[in-house]
């Protein structure tokens, strides 16, 4: 880090992620599950299915449907959050659903529903990205046919500087926040949002940073899955 750059509040370098740990298969009753700790975020994702669709009129005859619920626990924030599903949660549920949908081979499961439940136990900034990482790990854990895993990471602009992985304080004081999700093996982007303003150069840099962050998270997702299934062997690709 060069001297003229302003230090971040958390003391991280501009291209440094928060501490992340992912664990797969944490819930016995779900078909697939994952717990992610992303800085102060603690997020649990559980996947059920494929199973019968209820209500029946939502059934699609040639493919599966995906139901996604993103929900924050009342104790997840510093002031109590009302437990009802809020407008923001409905939006994030939709965004997460659309981010993981391209990875799932839905034609393999006609007339079924795949349910993704995401509970935020403790929230910090960037919970939607963390939730996508957890959800995709849980989907793979549930044994659902997928083209690829989905990895998400945010980049942003704080105090005029483009940084990776914007946390809660930085999000509130900063100028821009740009969460992206992508399929790491093909590089296809499945989620793209941008709050705030970025110039062309800043945007290019932020996108590049976010992709680097996604690469790191992809490795952690693989580690989590190989820990459960292969006793930690062959977690990361040799080639």
């Amino acid at each position: 880090m060069s001297k003229n750059k302003i230090e971040r509040i958390s003391g991280r370098a501009p291209d440094e992620l928060r501490n992340v740990s992912i664990k797969a298969g944490v819930i016995k009753n779900a078909d697939g599950s994952a717990l992610i700790e992303f800085g102060k975020n603690k997020i649990m994702a559980a996947v059920f299915g494929p199973k019968e669709v209820h209500p029946k009129h939502m059934m699609v005859s040639d493919r599966a449907i995906i139901k996604c619920r993103y929900h924050m626990m009342p104790f997840s924030t510093d002031t109590r959050k009302r437990p009802n599903i809020s407008r923001r949660e409905i939006e994030i549920s939709k965004v997460i659903r659309e981010a993981v949908q391209p990875a799932i081979i839905m034609e393999d499961y006609p007339r079924t529903a795949i349910e993704i439940y995401i509970e935020i136990l403790q929230s910090d900034g960037g919970s939607r990205c963390a939730a996508i990482n957890a959800a995709s790990t849980a989907l793979a854990d549930a044994g659902i046919n997928m083209r690829d895993l989905v990895t998400a990471c945010a980049a942003g602009k704080v105090d005029g500087q483009v940084v990776l992985d914007v946390d809660d304080t930085e999000d509130k004081t900063g100028e821009a926040d740009m969460p992206i999700a992508l399929l790491p093996n093909t590089g296809l982007i499945t989620l793209f949002q941008l709050d705030g303003n970025l110039s062309k150069e800043e945007f290019d840099k932020a996108l590049e940073l976010a992709k680097i962050g996604c690469d790191k998270l992809y490795k952690l997702q693989r580690d989590a899955l190989s820990e459960k299934y292969f006793d930690g062997k062959n977690g990361n690709k040799e080639e």
């Binding site: 078909d31 697939g32 299915g49 494929p50 199973k51 019968e52 005859s61 990875a103 081979i105 499961y109 006609p110 007339r111 079924t112 793979a140 854990d141 549930a142 044994g143 659902i144 046919n145 997928m146 083209r147 690829d148 895993l149 399929l183 790491p184 093996n185 693989r222 899955l225 190989s226 299934y229 292969f230 062997k233 062959n234 690709k237």
Partner: protein
């Protein structure tokens, strides 16, 4: 390059199993020149093509599979059987009583009641309709004794082993009779001790299906 030998490696969704002209067999998709895995499991590259043996996932019914199920619901015409998949298996009255089946004359309860277990065969399934099952055939029908243990359906081939080697090994060493349902349900018959031993062996296979020296581990577990 096509060879006669079988190569194995661990894969996850999105991993390129192999590049080149290969035949995608199961749990893989072809994208351009690449064969990509869609599940967590062991990839097998052989002369016939590429397949991934999954380590998890729900049972997908296939025609002629023998399954072990439980009566979940019944009405005047058919039983709904929980076969450990995402749809119930449908056992129609005429499949049990024959062509002359009449819902007013024949009592459904005289054959199968709610909660009873049975061994059945998948008659038809094409993913657009619920699987139809049948209990007519040797070895099929109501289960009167024994216990059922469950394992991930993709690991059933490991329980059976090469030409039935593993199942033979467990049966001979424990004295427990096993009937295997392709849906991941295994019926164990025998003394308490025999069943406990067999159950533990099945559990071991479930936990360590990806390990190559499974036979030795099962033997050492049983002979303890």
């Amino acid at each position: 390059m096509k060879t006669n030998s079988v190569e194995r490696k661990y894969v996850m969704p999105g991993d390129v199993v192999i590049e080149g002209d290969h035949n995608p067999l199961a749990n893989v998709i072809k994208s351009g020149n690449k064969i990509i895995s869609t599940k967590i499991g062991m990839a097998e590259i052989s002369y016939n093509g590429v397949r991934v043996i999954p380590l998890n996932g729900t049972y997908i019914p296939r025609i002629d599979d023998v399954v072990i199920g439980k009566v979940a619901d019944m009405n005047g015409f058919a039983w709904e059987i929980d076969i450990n998949s995402w749809f119930f298996g449908i056992l129609t009255g005429s499949a049990v009583f024959g062509r002359q089946f009449s819902s007013s004359r024949d009592s459904m309860k005289s054959q199968f009641n709610k909660g009873e277990c049975l061994i059945a065969k998948i008659l038809s399934f094409d993913r657009t309709r619920d699987p139809l099952i049948s209990v007519s055939g040797p070895g099929l029908g109501k289960i009167n004794e024994g216990e059922i243990t469950y394992i991930t359906s993709s690991k059933i081939p490991r329980v059976i082993g090469k030409k039935g080697a593993m199942i033979k090994l467990i049966e001979e060493n424990t004295g427990c009779r096993m009937t295997i349902g392709q849906n991941g349900a295994i019926l164990l018959k025998g003394t308490d001790e025999a069943r406990t031993k067999a159950r533990n062996a099945v559990k071991l296979i479930g936990n360590q299906a990806h390990i190559s020296d499974l036979n030795d581990k099962v033997i050492s577990l049983i002979s303890k």
